[in-house]
Amino acid sequence: MSRVRLLAGTKKGAFILTSDGTRKKWEVNGPLFGGWEMYHLKGSPADPNRLYASQTSSWFGQIIQRSDDGGKTWYQPGTPPGEPTTTPDGMPKGESNKFVYDTSATSGQPLTTHQWYDGTQHPWEFKRVWHLEPSLSDPDTVFAGVEDAALFRSTNGGQTWHELAGLRGAKGQLWQPGAGGMCLHTIMLDSKNPQRIFIAISAAGVFRTDDAGKTWRPVNRGLKSQYELPDSDAEVGHCVHRIAMHPAKPNVLFMQKHWDVMRSDDAGESWHEISGNLPTDFGFPIHVHAHEPETVYVIPIKSDSEHYVPEGKLRVYRSRTGGNEWEALTNGLPQHDCYVNILRDAMAVDSLDPCGIYFGTTGGQVYGSADAGDHWVPIVRDLPAVLSVEVQVIP
């Protein structure tokens, strides 16, 4: 029987939750890297035992961790090319922590400033890695979305990182930080077209490359940000919280924007609203069912200042029509006195049948449903605030 492995990043360490394919009984391992902010952990689709993790701290900066045995052991993979991977004493070297913006004249037009909260220009400053996206086919290739927003790639298993600087050439001077910082938080690889990648940034919008990351353009037509931008349908500047796709339909994209749930049927060329009957269209995560490309999940949050669920009720909303018609999923979730948030990377779906859905809260709960959202159980209740949840199905 398949096994299921959840990778949960929290404000104070990482946790690995494992179960068999019934997804009824879970073992909790952790904390790993206790005390550090674990923004994101993700496994390689090409090698499920290859895991990457972003370990970060306001004090001590950015650390990249890697596991080659499914999370049993971890190490920092970095070392300069051609050099031994360890010091003479056997210690791993540390270049994997180095994220330096490309300022070379040969790689496009690296910019030196972006827009600050008050509209003035501000220099790019690396802060942390928000999201790690391993290649669909090569365990040693992995992308990193960082704050201040940029995209980095490693092709040597995380040992060294190089910026895909053409992205910042896509009107980077107009990008601005959202409340959580100016983060590149979503990286989606097109399984049918290896040249195509989508990324999303708060607050800049969605960008697409069709040449494997060399050149990029904004794909935000149809987004409206009436209360966030002076020009509500500007080409860039929108606070996109998360985007999602089904791998079998890579031209169909779903978006949870700051306000509004949106859909594109043409790979981002145009977007239209599908918020429909949601109680509020503010929120962070959005995901697509593993086997039903028109089944979409969101978790509405009351507002952009009240970052908790409406009416004290934790409700996942599911649309089986690709949007507009939404049903509340509440069975097993708290329906009174609940005031948690669910962050943008804290939701995941597994590939089993029935499809499993998981999400983590700022209150430290990780909930799971083994039947596509009809019934929920708390897998663990009292972790630190959950920043991210990913899931792997292990054959």
Partner: protein, 98 residues
């Protein structure tokens, strides 16, 4: 012999217990101490000072001999008692609500 005390998180990263002992030839300054520390424990590169600018990270401070040396020039000689190994050089995570 230079004695360096790391904050708990960096001890974990470097996989050390207790003080770190470094041998430095020539002038003992913050720069030569950190150079030797990163040479010995490369996984600490970027955690105490920036990879490129080599500036101290904002929430890291350097104490020794009951003094705050954080704002000293990185090329200023450290106190003789640190250079002789009588006193440790302390790398501290700043008190910042953590």
């Amino acid at each position: 012999m230079i004695r360096v005390v790391l904050p708990a998180h960096l001890k974990t990263l470097a996989r050390v217990n207790g003080e770190v002992i470094l041998e430095i030839e020539g002038p003992v300054t913050q720069r030569t101490i950190l150079d030797a520390l990163e040479e010995r424990y490369p996984m600490l590169r970027g955690t105490v000072r920036d990879h490129v600018t080599l500036k101290r990270r904002a929430f890291v401070r350097f104490f020794a001999c009951e003094q705050d040396l954080s704002h000293e020039s990185s090329d200023t000689l450290v106190p003789e008692s640190v250079a002789s190994g009588a006193e440790p050089f302390l790398i501290i995570g700043a008190m910042a609500g953590g």
